[in-house]
């Protein structure tokens, strides 16, 4: 059996057990008057059953589907860089302000796939930051954080 399916089943079973314990803090009520904890408890039990079924299916070997193409190290580094840039954006957006955060985000992302010329990257980043500020801030009138620039 595939190791990935084994670990997924176990993670799901663990999640189900966790949710089952968490649901005990909520009032279950009764069959006649089901309350807040009723539905999550039923779902957690269902999840547990399905996780076991997935595990069993893995052992029987019924799963014949081909796995996805393997991601090369290069692909993982692109994904890592992109995610890091977006998380950083979320963290600094309110203190640094929309324009600067967007500018830095674009600089990082534009170089994520292939290293392009710096002049081009900077020009595109500046234009995108201003254009998106214009669309969201001015045309759509959405309040965007000003941050250190104060606009």
């Amino acid at each position: 059996m595939k190791r990935s399916q084994l670990s997924v089943s176990l993670v799901l079973a663990g999640l189900a057990a966790f949710l089952l314990i968490q649901s005990r803090h909520l009032s279950f009520g009764s069959m006649r008057v089901p309350q807040t904890g009723f539905f999550p408890t039923v779902l957690a039990i269902l999840l547990l059953i399905l996780a076991v079924a997935l595990l069993a299916q893995g052992f029987v070997g019924a799963e014949s589907s081909r796995g996805p193409d393997k991601i090369l190290a290069e692909g993982w580094s692109r994904i890592g860089l992109t995610l890091a840039a977006m998380i950083a954006f979320a963290l600094v957006l309110e203190s640094l302000g929309f324009l600067l955060s967007t500018f830095f985000l674009m600089i990082l992302l534009l170089r994520a796939i292939e290293s392009q010329r710096w002049s081009k990257v900077v020009v595109v980043a500046v234009l995108t930051a201003i254009a998106s500020y214009a669309i969201f801030g001015w045309i759509l009138g959405i309040p965007l954080p000003g941050g250190v620039l104060g606009i």
């Binding site: 539905f39 999550p40 995610l83 967007t102 985000l105 009138g141 959405i142």
Partner: protein, 498 residues
Amino acid sequence: MDIFSNVALGFSVALTPTNLLFCFLGSLVGTLVGVLPGLGPVGAVAFLLSLTFKMAPATAVIMLAGIYYGAMYGGSTTSILVNIPGETASVVTCLDGYRMARQGRAGAALGIAAFGSFIAGTFGVVGLMFLAPMLGRAALRFGPAEYFALTLTGLTLVAYLTQGSMIKALIMAVLGLLAGSVGMDPISGEERFTYGSLTLRDGLGLVPVAMGLFGVAEVLENLAAIGPQSIYETSIKGLLPNKKDWQASGWPIARGSVIGFLLGILPGPGPVIASFVSYAMEKRLSRHPERFGTGTIEGVAGPEAANNSATAGSFIPLLSLGIPTSAIMALFMGALMIHGIQPGPLFINKYPELFWGFIASMYIGNAMLLILNLPLIGIWVRVLKTPYAILFPMILLFCLVGVYTLNSNATEIIIMLIFGIGGFLLRRLGFEGAPFILAMVLGPMMETSLRQSLLISRGSFAIFYTRPICATLLAVTAMFLLWPLIKRRKQAKISHEN
């Protein structure tokens, strides 16, 4: 029934300058995401959802619908020109459409795809116009038990129709229901799974979750494997199909329209299935099945018609029963509910200007798309040449800003990213996002109807099998749940005998 006055009312709503503008913008954006591989209509609707909050409800729905059917048109362009489906409903169009383009008949293929889509789209809208009010009236007699059964049947069917393992799809559905139960209990208001987070008190937001699962996850997947981009170089001549093309495509378009519409009503990714069924059917009915796959125009006309009428059909369960049947319909439901409008049996009577305005806008939108797609094809070809290195930062920026502007809350960006990473990893393991998002939206309705049913029946489950509609729905559900097991046993038996 004064259907004419209703249609007139609809056009009076749809033809206001604002609604006309947003119908156009929706079709335009839809065509754009359809043309661009790597961002599907679900992601596009998700990221424009945040912009619709400040609009009038009719305008919001008109624009979002434009995106949906616009993407169906646009998707065919990419399939035909570069052999990459712009979205999944155009996968089959690649088979013959790209071959036609290679033979220098790209113009005819694009033309028949656009005309076929227009005819089928219009047919679907007419069907929607007649069927939705009828079903809505029938649904007035539904009680909580029927609603519980409907949500359960819908989810099971979607899990059944999702490609790959059914267990995995069901797991995604259960996880989605759990995600939908985060926040305040829909009946008592008690908090669940919020862990002191203010953002989670109102529940997990549909927009951050959908954008994570369908926007961010899709971009990450594309980043994982970037191959050389194939670019279409030759020029396109003669967009109008000739008389022979029309003769060959007439019946496929007619059949595709009907089949697509019917399949669209059923739960699941209607347009995708409709396009496959139409292709298979045309191949079977054809006197020259061997020509399919070598660039025959029937192979483009049928599926392209089918996926467009399915788009219209898929609105029926949402607007008349209040049950979304696919991820994109779940987003529509979210868009309506944000404006305090509950789709369901009362919807058409309560908001006639909204329903008929929406119907009328779909006629107008289909006509606009014909104009957008044929003469402007050169622009779309140029858009296709944008390198992904430039494109993907823009898509992500839109996701980030779109989610942030919902409530000016950076926590929602983090939620989106978590679902983006999770969605990406789960998809690689064979778990699809569609059952999850559908379940998340249906969750509160399912829970409320289940608890209300039990309250009515004083805890007896007889309420679910003594009411005929409810019992039928549950029997159908059980059949779909058990069918894979029966099928496997049969196959095992056959292979054993061999």
